[in-house]
Subunit: 142 residues, 2 copies
Amino acid sequence: MLTIGTLAKKTGTKVQTIRYYEQIGLMPEPGRTEGGQRRYGAAELDRLSFVRHARQLGFSLDAIRELLDLSDHPGKSCAEADAIARRQLKQVEQRLARLEALRTELKRMVHECSGGQTSDCRVLEVLRDHSECLTDHEEIGA
Amino acid sequence: MLTIGTLAKKTGTKVQTIRYYEQIGLMPEPGRTEGGQRRYGAAELDRLSFVRHARQLGFSLDAIRELLDLSDHPGKSCAEADAIARRQLKQVEQRLARLEALRTELKRMVHECSGGQTSDCRVLEVLRDHSECLTDHEEIGA
DNA sequence: TTTACATCCTCTAGCTACTGTAGGTTCAAG
DNA sequence: CTTGAACCTACAGTAGCTAGAGGATGTAAA
């Protein structure tokens, strides 16, 4: 049986995060000692590892909830899990495209800065005047 | 003189967002009509455009605050603005590297899924077992 | 057995950067 | 003078945690 701290260490999670996952129903309520402390078994360790790994791959908690549900029902079709992963892949690719445009623009800003006064700083100038931008970077948000 | 709604339209910002920027001190308190409605001039339009553009480039509100301050003091050295932009560029490049690793892993997951039952779904399997991953995608967060 | 102290508990608030809603007021056109 | 869009304030909610207060528990050494 693992304490919450040990589980945290084993999975690279903060203790508070584990309690948070329990609170939002992503992790089950574990057994408790007489004194009221949580004790975890192997199943919980597996589940939390799954959650953490999915988080590392950028899945939202909602997506993870679905994936866990699928994982709990081995008979169900794989198609849904596949769809969720494809959706995630698409999102990642969109973000990549956006970040690449940002990198281009930032690089240009930085390279053109000659290090004088702010009155003729290229960085500030570009920010002031959007028309100086070469690439498209319209939407805000990651 | 512009109403908040017109300013919003001109800058592609939501009305509430403008009020929010005012609240956190990113935008100055504008003049008001007798009835208490906000009225904006050209200076505010420029400032908000600057803020929005910087947001589109991914700068945090804190970074934007610094940039605005620099922009307000034309005599100051350009070095700080340059440093902020470089920091931002570095961050973008880090995120790019991370997202590329994610894309690789997600692609592999998706491609290996043969569409059967969840019991032998590659997507779920990979999530269950981190050791199946080829790339490094340790840290969570964007 | 006592004591020390790390770890645990709950609860609440805070973070970023907004966005949405409720309930009421003002402005400009007709 | 009336209508209706746009404005006002204030507060709550979003994602996904993270931090802190103030107190209880568990374990190992003295």
